[in-house]
Symmetry: C2
Subunit: 471 residues, 2 copies
Amino acid sequence: MSSSSSTSPRFGSMISAKLASPPPSLLLPPSPRLQGRRLTPPSCTPGTPAALPSPGPDKEPEREAAGSGSGSATTPRSPAQLGSSQLHRWSRARAHRSGRRLEWPTIRDRGSGGASSPPTPTRPHPSSDEAASAAAKVAVEEEDGYGVVGRDEAAKSIYMVSDGTGWTAEHSVNAALGQFEHCLVDRGCAVNTHLFNGIDDMDRLIEIVKQAAKEGALVLYTLADPSMAEATKKACELWGVPSNDILRPTIEAIASHIGVAPSGIPRSSPSRKGQLTEDYFRRIEAIDFTIKQDDGAQPQNLNRAHIVLVGVSRTGKTPLSIYLAQKGYKVANVPIVMGVNLPKSLFEIDQDKIFGLTINPVVLQAIRKARAKTLGFHGQKSNYAEMEHVRGELDHANQIFAQHPIWPVIEVTGKAIEETAAVVVRIFHDRKQKCAMPRISKRVAPIRIYDYLSEMVNTHVEYQKIFARDF
Amino acid sequence: MSSSSSTSPRFGSMISAKLASPPPSLLLPPSPRLQGRRLTPPSCTPGTPAALPSPGPDKEPEREAAGSGSGSATTPRSPAQLGSSQLHRWSRARAHRSGRRLEWPTIRDRGSGGASSPPTPTRPHPSSDEAASAAAKVAVEEEDGYGVVGRDEAAKSIYMVSDGTGWTAEHSVNAALGQFEHCLVDRGCAVNTHLFNGIDDMDRLIEIVKQAAKEGALVLYTLADPSMAEATKKACELWGVPSNDILRPTIEAIASHIGVAPSGIPRSSPSRKGQLTEDYFRRIEAIDFTIKQDDGAQPQNLNRAHIVLVGVSRTGKTPLSIYLAQKGYKVANVPIVMGVNLPKSLFEIDQDKIFGLTINPVVLQAIRKARAKTLGFHGQKSNYAEMEHVRGELDHANQIFAQHPIWPVIEVTGKAIEETAAVVVRIFHDRKQKCAMPRISKRVAPIRIYDYLSEMVNTHVEYQKIFARDF
């Protein structure tokens, strides 16, 4: 299926103008337009360490970029801020944009300190070639593994560009990269991913494609606005950047199936506000419930759970519960601890919703040892990670499982949480459907948020006013 | 980009044979092959209510399908169970398959009771046309909104088929459906989605495509195995089912970019076990941390968080924390409550990682009223949802935010959690990068699970033995 080739007229000339201008040389000083912006430290040029932005009133533009600002919570927007056309959105986004954006990357040393110790550049006066090559790596500060990009000369870059949250692009690319684990695991083919989300104006889009051309990156995008998608395709063709529209073929297949044209409006757009799905509210409720039920808390509520997980410590009950809660299932988990009775209510509820988790004892011991180390238990006397105790506890769990053959028992050794979750959800739905061809079925039902809230508290008109004003 | 056209020789003849056989009529009795399986209640034929499977030894096959069974946690597999070729996997999956699978759907009444009250069929003796039409809807039991598919004659079906967990297919389809909200919100175009995950053998795949043809469904798939993907494409063409491979173009774009062929091995395959990413372990740790820090708990650990969220009750701090934790960020959230001092440690940590949340007071009041109703507070005296109190608390929060202008303040009214998360993550990474072009960068680094565990506890050889045996 080919991408839509329609380019909205209001962006048409703009795209042509952008595409015609050659990519600026990396060594040119920042353009006067960029220099004039607020929040851009004067020292912020390639090869120079960044000055830390000072806290204070200068932070305001970022606060605005983050939303409507704290003030808008209680005061209505000025008429100039109202309206929802794409053009208006685009110019407003540009007005709100922090001055720090669109600057060229500064070369940082990997493994340098946090915000309190600005990194020193490794090559303060790079030659033209060196600078171009090093800048292509865009190494940034390290702190707990975040924002880290190794200065691996051989690493290939993948740019993910989205006019929404970018989570779909990220999820799809991560799944696709799973097909290259055989090569990634020994760094045979090193890959760095870079997510650019909320990209809703043409200027930033074109800058990103230019930068991708410099870095030799692949551009994978999810752009709801067809004119933005088309511009990306054309710009990538012009600058020889390989690219692919991740979601377009799926959207077009659905459009053709249901006989309705897609809206072309990105998730973050004001005109898509106020519409959330039933599924959304169910998820929020499920997360609230699941957190309260963690680790055997409130056993009197087990009957209200959709799914109850039972297993010894470190079989992954908590992350699995949370993962399932994000999917809208209310989950309770009950730990099996030697010498502690399971709550009576566990045996009184519908036994069809209880799942046992088990794991290889050697692997469990390793996980517990690692856990004990993290928690600083290593000096203390504890049988938590002793093999005899680990085996004993697993045997005890297996005896309980044997007494309740209706509970499916899932072996979690080496399984990622999302894999175990897939098994749990499949069995859960199979049991509900009994004879039907096994499947996980959902009705797609977005609702207007004011319909939802007003149904709950009967003040429909009030919400319509609020939402009409704010969105 | 076109799908790979290579069909593995071992599946080639099988596909041809499958494709040549016409779709069986819905009203034919189940084939003898299907009838002979365990766990299939004799009454389980179209139009007849399902007998509930009795608990007991009959449950064993399902337990096996769920994993390697509880026994395999302590006992090694028999040599016959070892090996990882696709052919072997396929026949093993078929051997493990529960007898209930691949049966034709039974017509259920929407809104019927739970497992304890089997539903009565609405049309016990349907005519041929009626049965075909009604079966196409596959209505199943309702319980808290799960497994519900409305008997909406106009609803279009979307089948999502995966040989892995199916989460990528689900995520992509949900994102794509966001482009049709304008029509879905008033049920102008009703859609039901059906996820078939872990589909790793040709028999089941072909049955699903046949069923899609009957239901008039669109088939969207993520099948890592190229022979399965090719078979789906061909089968869909043969039976006139519209279809699209969701991930193939993205995988091919990456393959071409990094110059490596994709493995073609699905996530659930034994040969992909034992390889998890650094990102994975970081996520598990982040979830553990975040749950412990919920609702202002353990303020002495705020310095260990990547992100600290501050806001009044019901601004979505908890679900936002959990969402970010799933992405690998350690999150703490601190509630603002009138008359309660914020913890001293909040002002001693790096202020760059603190984010304020605010919301429209009328909407907040509605959410709190709904919350109070859910919790059964409605009869009790409480100022929690009174407008004066709500406004006062938000004013108090805004004063605190004004005193700390370095904290970005995010307006969450009408925003979905994932949208707020996108804003938080963007600002978080922008602040780390300072002058660099804003982006969210990650190094892709899968590691072998035994490397991870052995590094933690220094028993490398032992794990290699375990993983060599079990996977």
